[in-house]
């Protein structure tokens, strides 16, 4: 078959009909691919609500009480490709004990998730996240905001590419 035809078929798959029923998901999120961020939230709790092809999600950090670090995500995404791939954007706040207070690192998240249904109720997901630190603040020292122009060697150090895996329970609302 001609490659152009294959590409057209792939495009049709991307615009497949959206999931009709509102639904929910909840499960465990594991980061383990990055020396810096994998250790900050080694085990998160992920949850989401979906309406049509659009989904809002959060990942909270139950280990904050043990590690002192907290990494929270809030995202919004849209499902494509027969509900197998989600493209998402959102906000990540990482904070840790700092001096006598707490220092916060606010970052923008862009990402994609690919899910594999294991059964009607369970699914496994793999995700790629591109994180850019925008603003560090708190802890009684100066704030530190990203400087985009002029581009310097400092800019890439604010960016990270991370992976995650999720095991989730799903259901219809």
């Amino acid at each position: 078959m001609c490659p152009w035809v294959l590409a057209a078929v792939a495009c049709l798959a991307v615009v497949a009909p959206a999931h009709a029923d509102p639904s929910w998901r909840a499960g465990l999120d594991v980061h383990g691919t990055d020396a810096a961020y994998g250790g900050r939230r080694p085990l998160g709790v992920a949850a989401g609500l979906r309406c049509g092809a659009t989904e809002g999600g959060v990942v909270v950090d139950p280990l904050v009480f043990a590690l002192g670090w907290e990494m929270l995500d809030v995202t919004a995404g849209r499902w494509f490709a027969d509900d197998r791939i989600e493209l998402l954007a959102g906000w990540r706040q990482l904070s840790g004990r700092f001096g006598t207070g707490r220092r916060y690192d606010e970052a923008v998240l862009l990402g994609a998730d690919w899910v594999v249904p294991l059964s009607r109720r369970f699914r496994l997901g793999f995700g790629l996240e591109f994180q850019t630190s925008i603003w560090r603040h708190g802890g009684d020292i100066s704030s530190d905001t990203i400087a985009v122009f002029p581009v310097t060697t400092d800019l890439p150090e604010r960016m990270s590419l991370l992976l995650h895996a999720r095991f989730e329970l799903t259901g219809i609302l």
Binding site: G39, T100, D140, D144, D154
Partner: protein, 278 residues
């Protein structure tokens, strides 16, 4: 497996046996630092003036880059050869003035090792990427030796110990420095530093090995060679120095898992706050 071990260490909260010493990278660690301000007198002044909310000096050590500029025929305070760079002695005079004006044992952050670590990097490029001739090695070494002595002398007067660290990507440069010239009555002498994995000249020992955090730390076999805080050298820590320009909080914390003896960063206030957290 190494990643998993790192994760377990982080989960258990075992982040090293003691705090690393914080070095102000390229004399540029004040608020809003940019790479363009590295190795400039203005950034050095601002960095020397940094204090914690409690009024302490923020850094344990200050890094000054020295260049032997063949075209200018002099020793400059710069990241690379170029016109307009100030004499290295001008930067050293600022550090010496800071030490002279400090209360006893307060020229650096109060720590288990009350001393100011004066880290002087000997840049390898003398212009156009050329290496040093033997005469240029001697001139460069004489320049940094005199500089370190000037700050040590200021410290003697104000009762502040100053420990020089001589660093270079080419270990042949610090190898030309006589450590005996810096031996004090307490047995403390200068330290030598070069890159992780760099082959050393015969008979030369580098007490500190440098790692760029962004050179894929995951690829390092942390179990081999110099790791973390090995021991002390006349009261000064020896071992690993990890540097990064402005690492994130998460990166800073991840560095500590490897138990470095020194951390060199530009966002030193963030590093200090993280280290001083209860």
């Amino acid at each position: 497996m190494t990643r998993f071990a790192g994760l377990v260490i982080a989960v258990l909260g075992c982040v090293g046996s003691s705090r690393p010493l914080l070095i102000c990278h390229n004399a540029n660690c004040a608020e809003g630092n940019t790479v363009e301000a590295d190795d400039t007198l203005g950034a050095l002044r601002a960095s020397l003036a940094l204090r914690t909310p409690g009024g302490e000096v923020v850094f344990d050590g200050m890094e000054l880059d020295s260049v032997w500029d063949r075209g200018l025929g002099r020793c400059t305070f710069a990241h690379a050869p170029g016109p307009g760079a100030p004499d290295f002695a001008q930067a050293v005079a600022l550090v010496a003035a800071h030490v002279a004006a400090s209360a006893p044992d307060h020229a650096a952050h109060t720590s288990a090792h009350p001393a100011l670590y004066l880290k002087i990097e000997l840049k390898t490029d003398v212009g156009g990427g050329a290496p040093h001739t033997p005469d240029e090695v001697a001139a460069h070494v004489a320049c940094v030796t005199a500089a370190a002595r000037a700050v040590i002398t200021a410290g003697v007067a104000s009762h502040n110990v100053v420990v020089p660290i001589f660093d270079s990507d080419d270990p042949a440069l610090p190898a030309a420095i006589d450590p005996g010239a810096f031996l004090d009555s307490s047995g403390r002498e200068c330290l030598f530093e070069t890159g992780w994995g760099t082959a050393l000249p015969a008979g030369f020992t580098a007490q500190i090995r440098t790692l760029d955090w962004y050179d894929d730390p995951e690829a390092i076999d942390w179990g081999q060679g110099t790791r973390g805080q090995d021991a002390t050298s006349g009261g000064s820590p020896r071992g690993l120095l990890i540097w990064a320009r402005n690492p994130s909080l998460a990166d800073l914390d991840a560095m500590l898992v490897h138990d470095p003896a020194y951390v060199g960063v530009n966002n030193i206030e963030e590093a200090r706050g993280l280290l001083d957290a209860p």
